[in-house]
């Protein structure tokens, strides 16, 4: 659906996006993760033709980027934006009328459909300036859905939503994805990406540092976490196989088969209160691959005076 080749954007001496190779397959729920200032938004803008790449190329739906292909893309970039003095419905109608691909006769129905989808069906004639942040976010999503897009490109779509709203948006995206829409989600929120996405790319300072299926990030570590009131007795029993005994009583055991380990402990008269195979977390993978957030500005080390 999306493929970028050596995508690069320089602003003067600053390289915002550096040699990016992304590959989003049809049906993916693709998480584009990175700290603030890592070039996510610039990348999203290049995917949508708002910012022109310095070098490299973008392919949409298997063809070199053309503006007309955007008819099949719905997008939310850096927050929703509307004419504040018009109502949500009027904004959607104008937005629908502005672009190609929407027959006038069915416009009213399309607008009602997308409002229904995002949970704003009952919205009244108040102007958008009276909307809450969450309502604007939903309206932005509604606008993105007007053309029943094959691809959704969303930049921080749950910004400003309460937990209930975040859940609803996630459910909506899962539903759309089940119906065949590919979702590209750009976010700095690890939990959001982890909860929704099947495939994840991590950028840091404009460079791609990781790109893989979520399951690969969450591989088994080969350790089993065991909790028992008798951690020391258990550690003594297991001997060499113990990897670590944490001060909070968590026992880490190198073992392939949690069930067999459980049987062994219980057989030795040691009650087990909790036991499960440890997985790598996405957070650990991301943190090890990225440096400090690039909005953090550290002082340059003082230059040594010339000898």
């Amino acid at each position: 659906m999306i493929r970028t080749t050596a995508l690069t954007k320089r602003y003067g001496r600053v390289t915002a996006v550096d040699d990016l190779h992304l590959h989003v397959r049809e049906g993916d729920r693709y998480g584009f993760l990175g700290p603030n200032g890592s070039g996510k938004t610039t990348t999203v803008r290049m995917l949508l033709g708002l910012v022109l790449p310095t070098s490299g190329s973008v392919e949409l739906f298997g063809e070199r980027f053309q503006r007309d292909a955007l008819v099949e893309v719905g997008a939310l970039v850096e927050g929703p934006a509307f004419s504040a003095h018009l109502s949500g419905r009027d904004n959607l109608r104008l937005s629908d009328a502005a672009g190609p691909g929407g027959a006038r006769a069915t416009r009213r129905q399309r607008v009602e459909d997308v409002l229904e989808q995002v949970g704003l069906a009952g919205v009244d004639r108040r102007p958008v300036k009276a909307y809450s942040l969450g309502m604007r976010q939903r309206l932005g999503l509604a606008s993105a859905l007007l053309r029943k897009p094959r691809l959704l490109v969303l930049d921080e779509p749950t910004n400003g939503l309460d937990p209930q709203g975040i859940r609803e948006v996630r459910d909506l995206l899962l539903q759309l994805n089940r119906d065949g829409t590919t979702v590209f989600l750009s976010s700095h929120l690890l939990s959001e990406v982890e909860a929704l996405c099947t495939r994840i790319a991590v950028v840091d300072r404009g460079r791609l540092v990781l790109q893989d299926d979520l399951s690969a990030f969450q591989a088994l570590t080969g350790l089993v976490e065991v909790r028992t009131p008798f951690a020391h007795r258990a550690a003594t029993l297991l001997g060499e196989r113990v990897d670590d005994l944490r001060s909070d009583g968590l026992l880490l055991v190198r073992h392939d088969d949690p069930a067999a380990l459980n049987a062994e402990l219980v057989g030795a008269g040691i009650p087990v209160t909790a036991l499960h195979a440890q997985r790598r977390t996405l957070e650990a993978a991301v943190l090890s691959a990225t440096g400090a957030g690039s909005d953090r500005v550290a002082a340059e080390p003082a230059a040594k005076p010339a000898a």
Binding site: R45, L52, L70, V71, A81, H85, L94, A97, G99, P100
Partner: protein, 267 residues
């Protein structure tokens, strides 16, 4: 897209507020003249105003002369300066472009909407002034500035040409402001830039030392529409003014298009 931009223009309270205020200013002037019955001495104050007391039919031209130096160009500069920069500031520009609306298409639609606003403002000012003028001062056969009498048809034609000439001059302002609007994400900066240019031009037009550049200054021939009421019409400055504004319009609209179709939209 042109329809969408025109609809936005018509539904915007600002459009009608500004045009209302533009029409109000000459009306206030007319009321003072009617109540006090004291006309400015010939040769002082805005063009035609001294003659208006005797003949209300001259008031549209007088009204345009009243709003022309400052009020009208500022209103036009604000609306045209807002065209692209306003959408950029609201964030709606990026959503229009990914709808997708072609950039050329969008800027042409903006040009047409701005042109429609400009002409609408000029026509409303003239129309309101005609009604106010003929009601307050009555109408009589129009005397020309040269002293001869003009037929009603000829007078009407001259008033229509005045409206077109002033409108054309304002389109020059609109083109400059629209170009600046593609340069910045701040509608205020675009409007201010255009106004700054007009003020500079106004100062230089009045400065004898600047005589060599005066024929190229945008405000130089603005008041040439007075020549339409001479008999016969003195066309020299009118034609120069029309041609000069055509150059401004062409150059700045081309620059606006060239800049907008190749720039990174980071708003």
């Amino acid at each position: 897209m042109i329809g969408v931009e025109l609809r936005k223009l018509v539904r915007r309270p600002r459009t009608w507020m500004s045009i209302g205020l533009l029409a109000l200013l000459p009306t206030i002037v007319a009321m003072f003249l009617a109540v006090r019955d004291v006309a400015p001495r010939p040769g002082t104050g805005p063009a035609f105003l001294s003659a208006v007391l005797d003949n209300g039919a001259l008031f549209p031209a007088a009204a345009l002369a009243i709003v022309l130096p400052l009020f009208l160009p500022i209103a036009v500069a604000v609306v045209a300066g807002d065209a692209i920069a306003g959408d950029a500031q609201d964030g709606t520009l990026r959503y229009l472009l990914i709808r997708p609306v072609g950039r050329t298409r969008l800027i042409v639609a903006k040009m047409i909407a701005v042109g429609a606003y400009t002409m609408l403002a000029v026509v409303v000012v003239a129309a309101v002034a005609y009604v106010v003028g003929t009601q307050l001062f009555g109408s009589a056969p129009l005397p020309s500035v040269s002293g001869t009498e003009l037929s009603t048809t000829s007078a009407t034609l001259r008033t229509v040409l005045t409206v077109l000439y002033v409108g054309w001059s304002m389109l020059g302002v609109a083109a400059v402001a629209l170009f600046l609007s593609t340069l910045t994400d701040s509608p205020l900066a675009a409007a201010l830039g255009a106004i700054a240019l007009l003020i500079t031009s106004g100062v230089l037009v009045a400065l004898e030392a600047a005589a060599p550049v005066q024929p190229y200054l945008p405000t130089r021939y603005w008041l040439a529409f007075v020549d339409l009421f001479r008999d016969p019409v003195l066309t020299r400055d009118l034609l120069r003014g029309t041609a000069l504004q055509a150059v401004y319009i062409l150059v700045f609209l081309s620059a606006a298009w060239a800049n907008f179709t190749t720039k990174d939209i980071t708003s």
